[in-house]
């Protein structure tokens, strides 16, 4: 089947999509946007988190057909041209990135949290990111990064 989806502001049209394919597969393998990661493809790890019409979802659980005519925003669409988004900047600066496989999903989840709750408490950060597994960092520096991004956003 053919699917037309707006991804990061650009309309993408893809042909020959098999009905069993997930949005994640179509983004990664058919649209050439591998930024969203495929760690479990079971909705358990959050590595594939993207915005679908402004709502964070696990792209691995969305059938490609469900994205027809809708707006997707992925990690590739967070930066403003060459300028990193403050959340991205904070992740790099705080050492919240080790292997980085969890990072794209965490960035979307953190970005969404800060849009809803500009000054989250630690417990709010923890609850908001509880669906995103990270095997490398022990999460301490991820918390630091979200706090720093919140501070920066408040000041800008």
């Amino acid at each position: 089947m053919r699917i037309t989806t707006t991804v990061n502001g650009t309309e993408h049209e893809v042909d020959d999509v098999w009905p069993g394919e997930s949005l994640l597969y179509v983004l990664r393998e058919r649209m050439g946007l591998p930024g969203s990661k495929n760690a479990c493809e079971q909705g358990e790890c959050g590595s594939c988190t993207v915005y679908l019409d402004g709502e964070p979802v696990c792209a691995c659980l969305v059938a490609a057909g469900q994205a027809q005519g809708r707006e997707v925003r992925t990690v590739e669409g967070l930066a403003d041209g060459d300028r990193l988004h403050p959340v991205q900047e904070a992740f790099v600066e705080c050492g919240a990135v080790q292997c980085g496989f969890c990072t794209p999903g965490l960035l979307i989840a953190a970005h969404d949290l800060l849009a809803r709750v500009p000054h989250p408490s630690d417990l709010e950060i923890r609850e908001a990111l509880a669906g995103n597994l990270c095997r490398c960092t022990g999460y301490e520096k991820i918390l630091d990064a979200v706090r720093l991004a919140a501070d920066r956003q408040a000041r800008s």
Partner: protein, 748 residues
């Protein structure tokens, strides 16, 4: 050096541009999938692939008959078939391969391969497997290694005796980036493999044997690696992807899904341990006896070396004059086990630390004091008789964690969600009790027991656009730990140039050795340092010729050549001109030695690293739920080349140890894995992790480059036993098995 520059791959990773192995893509590529055995043990009578070949879109189907070279690989012993031919020995063993134009097509075709199995009884109890009459998983028997260690008086007795049995379940590395690779057939008939791995050259050696090809034609390139933790030491997609690419003459991508990943790599060895300590009435250890059985699963992998660690380091960082240790690794029809962060020391630490607590209680000392009384110090001999010839701050590390501020007591105002299980609103704190636990460890760094453990670095210095540029080329794998940054830091320090390019990692340079055993900063760092020194010497030689002064009177300072009193004599650009200086150096640490087979005595290890943890837990004793409130640690890192990266390793390592204590286990019954998914194999989330206070000591090791001490593994070893001890302290239950499950806490 000693500051924390941003990692060069950080920006790529936050923008989604960093190419992990599963992101690789090639025009015209096809997808490879693996058909795996559903049985833990069976004879293969016949394989019929004809049906699979008729599926539209399928390019090829391969079985053992299509392996051109040796149908065997393995890190230490080549005992594992590339594709099973006669027998399958564990559930999930690869049997056939399919390549097709879509991964789903390939999977559906694989399901249509008919394998006629004669199911055989499986040996799944490692203790039973050791019986002489147990059916052999391989001929001639089920023992992979028996390490026998005898020191001092074997008949020693003591007034205070404590003993216990302990069990550790099978943990998984659970790196997030799935096993993946892209094999591209080359014009010379060889193949280029882009793959996520920990050691390119050991992979290359095994792939060459299986393909029957010389190394020049099998070139490996490191792709982005999404975590490793030991799980990428053994081959996974490597040979399979190459076979398919060579057969189809098309680029082939393979990428496991999460379930297959649980079958596609080795796990941490489950362990059964029996430990006994004898001590004076004041708590001073007199003797220790230990027997450890590690379940190696169906193939050897690195079991022998894990047994080496579980034996030689198995009694912890304590002074014990009289010792008898037997450590065994055995074959079973369970999933193969091999390397995982902490490598044999993790299992042992649960036993010796639980027993130290018992001893403390028996002699009436507190749990920090008993460890300090027996903790080894610089100059002591360990249980293999090796002198600890650099700092051994066991007592100090314990004191540091004991003195760190405690988390606030719970009060009526505390957020309910911070109670164990209370995000689910299961309690208002009625049955919740708090406990505190301590643990300390030491771990060998680098490969031991006489292994030729080296790394190769090529450093090139040249002028590009009027600026000096250094290029570092090593084959050492960056798996997320930050090695690339460290290579840059060392090169900047040694050559004084700002621009340092780290060459992509591949087999076009000599081996960097494994990214494991916490060794890369030490060994590859040492190689980069040595190569920089060699480059510097050549540059100064050249400058000496130009200036007509002895090279010994010259120094390289930034991009200047300066004389003895610091006067600038000429610029680096003048000396180099258009002619780059390039040096390649193979660098080795001090040799280690095999241990005596009868006594287990010998200088087996090159370096030791020490860490201590204090855990504070709240336990709901009615529901059996645990919440770790604090997990604080102190570690001696010798010299922190990149302090932020060091602390990051300590956080992440501690989380993995805590995971094993509380929740992480591959459940295997009758040889079948019951929970191959992130739904059922639980790793700590951000809600499970407590805040951590981390204190870093820097007692330089005089024998190591810059004094560094390996960092990555110790936190994984001491954090778990501290958490387990805290739960025992809270509940008063012995809890002799990890992970500790709710039913262990609530049961009688």
């Amino acid at each position: 050096m000693g500051d924390s520059p941003l990692r060069p791959d950080g920006t790529l990773k936050v923008t989604g541009e960093f190419a992990y192995a599963s992101d690789l893509w090639h025009d015209d590529m096809v997808w490879g999938v693996t058909l795996r055995s559903p049985h833990p043990h069976a004879r293969i009578r016949r394989i019929d692939v004809s049906d699979a070949l008729t599926v539209p879109g399928v390019t090829t189907v391969l079985t053992a008959d299509d392996v051109p070279g040796d149908n065997a690989f393995g890190l230490e012993h080549a005992d594992q078939p590339v594709l099973a031919s006669e027998f399958v020995r564990y559930e999930g063993e690869p049997v056939a391969l399919v390549a097709a134009d879509h991964p789903e097509t390939a999977r559906r075709a694989a399901a249509r391969i008919r394998v006629d199995y004669e199911v055989l009884p499986a040996v799944t109890d490692p203790l039973r497997a050791m019986d002489p009459d147990a059916p052999p998983v391989h001929r001639p028997g089920n023992l992979v290694r028996h390490l026998k260690l005898r020191r001092g008086d074997q008949t020693a007795t003591a007034p205070v005796v404590v003993s216990l049995d302990f069990e550790v379940g099978m943990q998984d590395q659970a790196f997030l980036g799935p096993e993946s690779g892209l094999a591209v057939p080359a014009e010379d008939g060889g193949v280029d493999l882009y793959v996520a791995t920990q050691w390119l050259h050991v992979d290359q050696r095994q792939i060459c044997l299986a393909l029957g090809m010389e190394p020049e034609r099998v070139r490996l390139h490191l792709s982005g690696v999404g975590g490793a933790f030991g799980g990428r030491e053994d081959l996974s997609v490597h040979v399979h992807a190459c076979l398919l690419a060579l057969r189809t003459n098309r680029p082939v991508k393979m990428s496991y899904n999460r379930e297959e990943s649980f079958f596609g790599h080795v796990h941490r060895h489950p362990a059964s341990m029996t430990y006994e300590f004898g001590a004076e009435r004041d708590g001073t250890l007199v003797y220790a006896r230990a027997r450890t059985v590690l379940d190696g699963g169906a193939y050897a992998s690195s079991t022998a070396a894990v047994v080496g660690n579980a034996g030689t380091l198995g009694l912890g960082p304590y002074r014990i004059p009289n010792v008898s240790v037997d450590a065994y690794g055995v074959f079973t029809n369970n999933p193969p086990c091999g390397a995982m962060r902490g490598f044999g020391c993790v299992q042992a630490a649960f036993a010796h630390e639980a027993l130290m607590d018992e001893l403390a209680d028996a002699v009436g000392l507190d749990r920090v004091a008993i460890r300090q009384r027996n903790g080894m110090q610089e100059g002591d001999r360990n249980i293999t008789g090796q002198v600890i010839d650099s700092a051994a701050p066991v007592a100090e590390l314990l004191q540091i964690v004991a003195d760190l501020p405690m988390p606030p007591e719970r009060s009526a105002e505390s957020d309910l969600r911070s109670l164990p299980g209370a995000v689910g609103n299961t309690t208002h704190g009625e049955g919740v009790v708090r406990g505190v636990g301590y643990a300390v460890t030491y771990k060998n760094i680098g490969f031991s027991e006489g292994f030729d453990d080296y790394s190769t670095a090529r450093v090139r210095l040249e002028m590009t656009g009027g600026e000096a540029v250094a290029t570092v080329h090593t084959a050492a794998a960056e798996v997320g730990q930050g090695l690339i940054t460290v290579e840059q830091q060392i090169c900047r320090t040694e050559l004084g140039v700002e621009r340092v390019v780290v060459h992509p990692k591949n087999t076009a340079v000599g081996s960097g050795g494994s990214t494991s055993a916490s060794r890369q900063t030490y060994v590859t760092g040492g190689a980069v340092k040595a190569a920089c020194e060699a480059v510097r010497a050549v540059v100064l030689e050249r400058a000496a010729g130009l200036l007509g002064r002895p090279a010994g009177d010259l120094r390289l300072d930034g991009e200047k050549i300066v004389g003895l009193s610091g006067e600038v004599l000429t610029g680096l650009g003048e000396v180099l001109g258009d002619d780059a200086v390039e040096e390649t150096v193979e660098w080795r640490h001090r040799p280690t030695h095999a241990i005596d087979p009868e006594t287990g005595q010998g200088d087996a290890h090159v370096q030791f690293a020490f860490s201590a943890h204090r855990a504070v837990v709240d336990v709901d004793v009615e529901l059996g739920l645990v919440k770790v409130i604090a997990l604080d640690t102190a570690q001696d890192v010798g010299k922190a080349i990149n302090p932020d990266a060091v602390v990051g390793q300590i956080h992440g390592g501690s989380a993995q140890g805590m995971g094993l204590a509380l929740m992480e286990e591959i459940v295997v019954t009758d040889g079948h894995v019951r929970n191959p998914s992130f739904t059922d194999y639980l790793i700590p989330t951000i809600l499970d992790m407590p805040p951590m206070q981390v204190k870093v000591l820097e007692y330089g090791d005089p024998h190591a480059p810059y004094g560094v001490r390996g960092v990555g593994e110790p936190p994984t070893i001491s954090s778990g036993p501290a958490v387990a001890a805290a739960i025992r302290a809270a509940t008063g239950k012995p809890l002799r098995r990890v992970p500790i499950r709710p039913e262990h806490i609530t049961g009688t």
